[in-house]
């Protein structure tokens, strides 16, 4: 009898303990140990991020939906996101207005060549700042920071005069030559990124190569540069995208003939109508909205492709290599 009662008590005690533990497990699952790894916190993060992601994507969705809208759909306020029928007229008109084939080629030239040069030159400069011993290093570094901070508005007037004297206006040289001399688009930022990266490399590799009798140039091009491919990729991708999207300098220096896509979008209406559109022309043909969106889409499409392929290197590359410090 007595034994039975004790046994029962034991079992009840054990069961309650088990229940408690289960409850605790559920609690852990929902609230998490850290409050940021529980289910509730995760739901909250998903919820917030989805809202913000929607806000982020909204202009892009608007662009795509306006692009394929027919005229009645555009004018009908009840049609907001999904057009009743899809029309490709806008896209073909934008293709023609931008002279797409030609201008993609121009923009590619303007983006790819300077990016390659920037990777090379900025890595050399960054390496010197990170590892080589020479006098005046701090002054160099301070000047590089200064070039980053100076607004382009200050230099644009003299540069315009210099370029026009040299006959470089409306040629890709306005981006290539400065890149070659370390003063290209956001070169200062890239130099700093490379400097940071080279400082994080172990010194032992260089010492070993030096003992083996490699010259500094051999060391740099054969050992250091191959080791820094992740950093080179990040810089190249950023440089490519920024050159592609550049519109301020190119609207100054490349306003005729050799014009990149961004400048052509600005003049898209003129290109379609033959001249500055008058109010009557716009009234007769109010669909330029769709055409402009098609043009905008055509501009972002190539970098979007690059991004889809290289997404991993863009986002993970920077944090993994600890480039920004």
């Amino acid at each position: 009898m007595k034994v039975e009662i004790i046994m029962k008590q034991r079992v009840r005690h054990l069961r309650s303990l088990l229940n408690g533990r289960q409850a605790q497990r559920v609690k852990l699952l929902v609230l998490g140990r850290n409050t940021n790894d529980g289910l509730l916190a995760k739901l909250f993060i998903y919820f917030m991020l989805t809202i913000v992601a929607y806000l982020y994507l909204q202009p892009f969705l608007y662009m795509v939906s306006t692009m394929v809208k027919t005229l009645p759909d555009l004018l009908d306020p009840t049609v907001q996101w999904i057009p009743r029928s899809i029309e490709w007229e806008n896209l073909s008109r934008a293709l023609k207005g931008l002279k797409y084939q030609e201008s993609v080629l121009y923009t590619l030239t303007l983006a790819v060549i300077p990016s390659f040069i920037q990777v090379l030159i900025c890595s050399i400069t960054g390496y010197a700042l990170a590892r080589l011993q020479f006098s005046g290093k701090n002054i160099y570094f301070a000047l590089i920071l200064l070039t980053f901070l100076i607004p382009p508005q200050i230099m644009i007037i003299p540069l315009y005069v210099i370029y026009s004297k040299l006959g470089w206006l409306n040629t890709p040289f306005v981006f290539i030559i400065p890149a070659l001399l370390g003063q290209g688009l956001k070169s200062a930022l890239f130099i700093i990124i490379f400097r940071q990266f080279f400082q994080s490399l172990p010194k032992a590799i260089e010492e070993a190569a030096m003992i083996d009798g490699a010259s500094i140039f051999r060391l740099f091009f054969r050992v250091i540069l191959p080791l820094s491919i992740p950093a080179c990729l990040v810089v190249f991708l950023f440089s490519f995208v920024w050159h592609w999207n550049e519109s301020y300098l190119s609207s100054m220096f490349l306003s005729q003939d050799f014009t990149p896509l961004s400048v052509r979008l600005e003049k898209l209406e003129t290109a379609i109508f033959g001249r500055e559109p008058s109010i009557e022309m716009l009234a007769a043909n109010p669909v330029t909205e769709g055409t402009k969106m098609a043009g905008a889409f055509l501009i972002i499409f190539p970098p979007l492709l690059v991004y889809m392929i290289a997404q991993r290197w863009f986002v993970e590359g920077i944090e993994r290599t600890g480039l920004v410090d």
């Binding site: 993060i45 982020y56 080589l132 995208v241 501009i299 920077i318 600890g322 410090d325």
Partner: protein
């Protein structure tokens, strides 16, 4: 012994000289570029800003020294410039904290471990890919950047009631392009995420064992840890705004550049004026950031 020492010293001197040469050689492209594409234009534009520049009939520039007249004109005569620059600085003072807080919040959320994180990361970095000035302009002109609930819930009216005239204008302008402002925080989010990696995980574990809540560990560890990155983001955002498509100073300078009555001299003066204002603002904010971090440590 003595001989060998001397030899060693000579060798080390030679080595030092050589490495000096190599260092400057590596810096050579940059140095030439700095002189040609930075120092000369900067000096020239500074010189221009004190001159009245006019084109003579033969197509050459005629300079005429007029001292500070260009700057005085910019301040007192050009009513467009002063209005634009005050409104833009007002907007900037609002926009920069919005961008930095927003990117910090998003970076914190993206830094957590959860499934599908890479998709969200890809989305948040997407605007960096297509924030062409022209594309942004077109989108904005067509109202794609509008937030629907602003007018639906009468936030516009609320702002107008609570702020005075100029302030209300600035606030509604900023609210009107809030999405495009948020769009320009892709790089800032990346910088913050990279910044989080520099704080070691063991600190958080130690603090958790000591019984600190995540709330206080954010304020006591995360925030001080990423303070340098806040400064970095501040710099980056300010620099990014130089060529921000809605920066009204930029087209104004360009208009004056090709205007016969004002010309290059006046346009450079405007650019320098803008730069000086930016520098003053940056110095104040950075001093403030530094000061607060020192106070926090003490």
């Amino acid at each position: 012994m003595n001989d060998r020492e001397r030899k060693n010293r000579r060798a080390s001197l030679f080595y030092k000289l050589k490495s000096q040469g190599v260092g400057h050689l590596f810096m050579l492209p940059w140095t030439i570029g700095f002189c040609v594409f930075m120092a000369i234009p900067i000096g020239w534009s500074l010189y221009l800003s004190f001159q009245k520049v006019s084109l003579s009939s033969t197509g050459l520039f005629k300079y005429e020294f007029i001292g500070m007249q260009n700057f005085k004109d910019a301040l007192f005569k050009d009513n467009e410039f002063t209005v634009q620059i005050t409104s833009f600085f007002g907007q900037m003072i609002l926009m920069i904290p919005i961008i930095i807080t927003f990117s910090l919040l998003v970076a914190i959320m993206l830094n957590q471990r959860f499934k599908g994180r890479f998709i969200y990361r890809a989305i948040f970095f997407l605007p960096v890919i297509f924030s062409t000035g022209q594309v942004l302009n077109e989108l904005f002109q067509q109202g794609a950047g509008d937030v629907p609930f602003l007018s639906q819930y009468g936030i516009d009216a609320l702002v107008r009631d609570n702020f005075s005239g100029v302030m209300a204008d600035i606030v509604t302008q900023v609210l009107g392009k809030i999405i495009l402002i948020l769009w320009s925080s892709g790089v800032q989010i990346l910088i913050f995420i990279a910044g989080f990696q520099t704080i070691s995980k063991s600190i958080y574990e130690a603090v958790r064992i000591d019984g600190a809540s995540p709330w206080s560990s954010f304020w006591k560890i995360t925030l001080p840890g990423i303070k340098p990155f806040i400064g970095l983001n501040l710099l980056y955002t300010t620099v990014d705004f130089f060529t921000f498509p809605f920066n009204p100073v930029m087209p104004h300078i360009r208009r004056n550049m090709f205007n016969i009555s004002t010309g290059y001299g006046y346009a450079s003066a405007l650019a320098w004026f803008y730069f000086l204002l930016i520098i003053v603002m940056l110095l104040v904010v950075l001093r403030f950031l530094n000061g607060s971090s020192k106070a926090g440590r003490a």
